[in-house]
Amino acid sequence: MSQSSAGAVFKENIWTNNPIFIQVLGICSALAVTNLLSNTLIMTIGVVFVTGFSNLTVSLIKSLIPRKVRMMVQTLIIAFYVIIVDIVLRAYLPEISRNLGPYVGLIITNCIIMGRAEAFAQSNPPVISLWDGITSGLGYMGVLMVIAFFRELLGFGTLFGFQVLPETFVPWTIMVMAPSAFFFLGLIVWIGKSIMNRSGAAA
């Protein structure tokens, strides 16, 4: 893995080709789990782990996979890692496992993971694939954490469960509900694209 390609993959996944606001993947979970920072953090850590390792595994055995069952095998690999995450949470972090409930299992439906396996790991060596998966997950985590920050702050007046706004603050109920994530997602796409256009014009 050369220095430049690792750097390029990083920049691509975090910024210029961010899975959420450029590729618009993984939107369902961006809406569903972003009203509390702690839940978002744990869930996205799960996604980083699953994307990284499923990419690594797909890349390692890619030459052995018959084309007909390629996607089936990818799904199997992804499901495997998701269940591992679920088991680990259940055994070591039962409280968080309780809070996240069905959302851990739903990591498997996150299009980013399959997307990276298909688009990157299928045609690249293992180490850079692992890196691609991790950075894709981080790009996803970054956007979700920003959304969750504002939603928790305005919806509950708290950050990671700690009260930060005064008691007199009236929580915005809409922030707790899924539609508010759409507003923030829209704003983030807008801001991100504007910055990109400006720097593109300058360059």
Partner: protein, 202 residues
């Protein structure tokens, strides 16, 4: 060997499937005891909280569970009795459907069915941040000592938590009307069952 042949495809799929499932089973097996311990602990904790018994450590949970609570059966229903200075309380495990899945937990009432002693959720699959807030302390604490009215209790509109213990009413969760309604249905049906079970014995 031809990698696109049917034989290779079938064998490959089988081997890959077998390997991954084997690894999963091993992981599951290794953590099973821990998971079961966690589940049992959270079940005991829930039962203690429902009966308003305080505890501060894991050891205390097991100790109080074994010494203070007396399990008994009536009409094949598992019930738990707890004798305290303020009277006898009876707890019953419940399960009922919420918006997305089954809500399980314990409900405890005073022996004379005058008041709810406590409500505790063991497992639920409601929407995180919305319906799942039924598991938060402010919501559950509303049931502590709540008067049981004629038709049971009422879960009202979303709010901050109803402090009045005599109006047979609690606040629902804002943005989770369907979950709040489910809780009302579940609790009233459980109160009804408890009435039948306990009154038959009087």
């Amino acid at each position: 060997m031809n990698k696109q042949s049917i034989l290779y495809t079938v064998v490959f799929t089988f081997v890959v499937g077998f390997l991954f499932v084997l690894l999963l089973s091993l992981t599951h097996e290794r953590t099973r005891e821990m998971v079961e311990r966690n589940q049992e602990l959270s079940r005991r904790r829930a039962l203690l909280s429902a009966l308003d018994i305080s505890y501060s450590s894991e050891a205390e949970v097991s100790e109080k569970y074994n010494t203070e609570i007396e399990p008994f059966e009536r009409d094949q229903t598992q019930l738990y009795r707890y004798q305290s200075d303020s009277g006898t309380a009876v707890a019953k495990p419940f399960s009922g459907s919420g918006l997305w899945g089954t809500i399980r937990g314990y409900i405890a009432v005073s022996r004379d069915l005058d008041r709810i002693v406590g409500l505790e959720i063991v497992s639920q699959n409601e929407t995180p941040g919305l319906g799942a807030r039924i598991d938060e302390a402010w919501f559950k604490n509303q049931f502590r000592g709540e008067k049981i009215g004629q038709g049971g209790i009422r879960v009202g509109a979303g709010g901050e938590g109803d402090q009045d213990a005599d109006n047979a009413e609690v606040d629902g969760v804002t943005g989770a009307t369907r979950t709040s309604d489910s809780i009302e249905t579940i609790i009233n049906s459980e109160i009804n069952k408890l009435e039948n079970l306990l009154e038959a014995a009087q």
